[in-house]
């Protein structure tokens, strides 16, 4: 059974009842009662997930059992072949890269990997990538370009690693270079924010022709706790910060930052990874097909225009007349 979140408490009560009943000798009556309770629990969970608040979505996005990049690779890809290292310093385990077949087509796959149990979390540095992770990602994307293969990216990180070695090896430069070079990469890039889109650490591998988000994923300029600590001077105000920051998939769709929301099964992707993967599969296939036939200049012009329009006149800013002049578009 998946680990339950605080707001799933009403479901937890039912699950305990089910557990208690199932430990008793089974009779047709008890089995009927269990089935009824299970149906009720599923209904209740679906109901709760239809009305998740932004902070609750952050919790779901961070759920330890949420399917990871490697889970999706296993469910949707074949012959995945991992590629290691940035050829500069090290192999960053928080970003996984490689090639695989997707519906028979060879593709490059790049994604953050957080780890699930204590040991794998430490191995993956909790998904906090260091400069070498971003450099490895770029190296593999350049290989994809060389061999004319599309790139599929899974985004799921709290942030780029905020530590001494990150700074001294130039994490800012590594992310910046990826932003510039991904904008110019001459093959299709499809991004799926599959968990936590943690600011620059996420964006550093998230420039592409399509940016998709799973229903309960989040994408934010700063973690709500960090924002609360700075603006409210109290990290406990994270619930309000999560609301204010507009981190949910519907918010980002409305802001024009993502192209499409990939629905999740009731109760979130962690309740049913296979069902979640099936929805991801359908959406990836469709977008790759749309992008496949574009010639490179068109592809790159559209990619440029896509990011160019983020924060548009009228939507995000306006032009006022400045006292004493200032130029205006004519």
């Amino acid at each position: 059974m998946a680990e339950l979140l605080d707001f799933e408490e009403p479901v937890a009560v039912l699950l305990k009842e089910i557990e208690a009943l199932s430990l008793m000798p089974q009779t047709p009556e008890r089995q009927a009662a269990i089935a009824q309770l299970e149906a009720r629990a599923a209904e209740l969970r679906a109901e709760i997930y239809r009305n998740l608040k932004p902070w609750q979505r952050v919790q779901v996005a961070r759920h330890p059992n949420r399917p990871s990049m490697l889970d999706y690779v296993e469910l949707l890809f074949t012959e995945f072949t991992e590629i290691h290292g940035d050829r500069r310093f090290a192999d960053d385990k928080a970003i996984v890269t490689g090639f695989a077949f997707f519906h028979g087509e060879p593709v490059a796959v790049v994604g953050h990997q957080k780890g699930r149990d204590t040991k794998s979390k430490i191995y993956r540095n909790f998904g906090y990538a260091k400069p070498e992770g971003y450099r490895k990602a770029l190296r593999v994307m350049k290989l994809a370009e060389k061999f004319n293969r599309p790139v599929i990216v899974f985004v799921d990180t709290p942030a780029a690693y905020p530590g001494i070695e990150s700074e001294e090896r130039g994490v800012a430069e590594a992310i910046a270079l990826n932003l510039r070079e991904m904008a110019l990469l001459e093959v299709p890039i499809v991004i799926l924010v599959s968990g936590e889109g943690g600011s620059g650490g996420a964006l550093g591998i998230a420039v592409g022709d399509r940016v998709l988000m799973q229903e309960f994923s989040v994408y934010s300029v700063i973690p709500p706790e960090g924002c609360a600590a700075i603006l409210w001077r109290d990290a406990a105000r994270k619930v309000e910060a999560a609301e204010a920051l507009k981190v949910t998939a519907p918010d980002l769709l409305e802001l024009g930052i993502i192209d499409e929301i990939v629905p999740e099964p009731p109760g979130g992707a962690h309740q049913d990874p296979k069902a979640a993967a099936a929805r991801v599969d359908e959406v990836l296939v469709r977008h790759l097909r749309e992008l496949r036939d574009l010639d490179v200049p068109t592809l790159l012009d559209r990619r440029y225009a896509k990011f160019r329009s983020m924060g548009r006149e009228g939507q995000a800013f306006t032009t006022v007349t400045v006292a004493g002049g200032g130029d205006q578009a004519g």
């Binding site: 204010a244 983020m310 939507q315 800013f317 006022v320 004519g330």
Partner: protein, 303 residues
């Protein structure tokens, strides 16, 4: 696109005072000496005794870099619409209004055309006193337009960063400005037009992780704080104090992420020299008045 332009001759008395506390005398935080206000203005806000670099406003920066202290500002009227309707302990709209009132600017960057030692350039100078120089949609749009202008005119681009990073109050839209500007810089890069990134105290967060680190040359002022994560965030992560000088210009030079540290009093001459070394020449054929720059297409030697 056609542009109407305004030539601005900054008036010293209203715009020079910003970075130094009120009063006739200022105490240097580095050497402790009392400095006369007007002397400091004459030394480009650098302490004449210990070379401490005081923070500079965007207009002071443009004055020191551009010939005769003259420039043509672009897109001065761009103003944020508060796209998230953001409120923390007070509405972002109020913070914006207060910053506009305080600085006389609409947002945290001025983008301008002018000449640097005779070479036509596009310069973006960030204004730290406008919400910490943070980058939201207006900063992103103005700088992107500046990059596109530099590309269209084949004029070298100079961006002077002074910023705490992406602006939280505009959420993920602020984050996306990193990608937007970097994409534009990619086009400039491939077109062979120089981009010089000037990193001043402080340059952190999403500004460092995008355009500030993408210069053909990254040039820092002495002892500037330059980094991605803020020092306090790192200290919380590693649970220990950071060594002295960590994330300062000298540290980044040592680690190989900036090309040179230049004293502000030498900065203009250095930029002029670098641009000449990159094959750009003073354009003496045309008059120096900025109006003449309208629709300029500069054809640099060797490009």
């Amino acid at each position: 696109m056609a542009w109407f332009k305004k030539t601005r001759k900054p008036i010293e008395t209203t715009e020079k005072v910003s970075r130094v506390p009120e009063g006739l005398w200022v105490k240097c935080p580095s050497c402790g000496r009392a400095l006369y206000h007007k002397d400091l203005a004459a030394t480009l806000q650098v302490c004449p005794h210990c070379a401490h670099h005081f923070r500079m406003s965007a207009t002071e920066r443009l004055s020191m870099l551009l010939d005769d202290g003259r420039w043509t500002e672009h897109d001065a009227g761009l103003r944020s619409l508060d796209p998230l309707g953001f409120t923390d302990t007070k509405p972002y709209r109020d913070r914006l209004a207060a910053s506009i009132e305080k600085t006389g600017q609409q947002d945290a960057v001025i983008v301008a055309s002018g000449r640097l030692e005779g070479i036509p350039v596009v310069v973006a100078a960030m204004e730290y006193s406008f919400i910490g120089g943070s980058m939201g949609v207006v900063v992103g749009e103005k700088i992107t337009r500046g990059v596109e202008r530099a590309l269209a005119e084949r004029a070298p681009l100079i961006i002077v960063s002074c910023s705490g990073g992406a602006r939280m109050m505009e959420g993920a839209l602020s984050l996306m400005q990193m990608a937007k500007i970097s994409a534009a810089l990619g086009r400039l890069d491939r077109a062979g037009v120089p981009y010089l990134s000037i990193l001043t105290d402080p340059t952190t967060g999403g500004v460092t992780a995008s355009f500030a680190m993408l210069g053909d040359l990254n040039i820092a002022e002495p002892k500037a704080l330059i980094g991605f994560a803020g020092p306090r965030v790192i200290e919380q992560t590693i649970r220990q104090k950071l060594p002295d000088g960590f994330q300062r210009s000298e540290f980044l030079l040592e680690k190989g992420f900036i090309d040179m540290i230049v004293d502000r009093r030498e900065l203009k001459a250095t930029l002029g020299r670098v641009l000449r070394l990159f094959g750009h020449r003073p354009d003496r054929a045309r008059p120096a008045a900025p109006e003449a720059a309208t629709g300029d297409v500069d054809a640099p030697a060797g490009a």
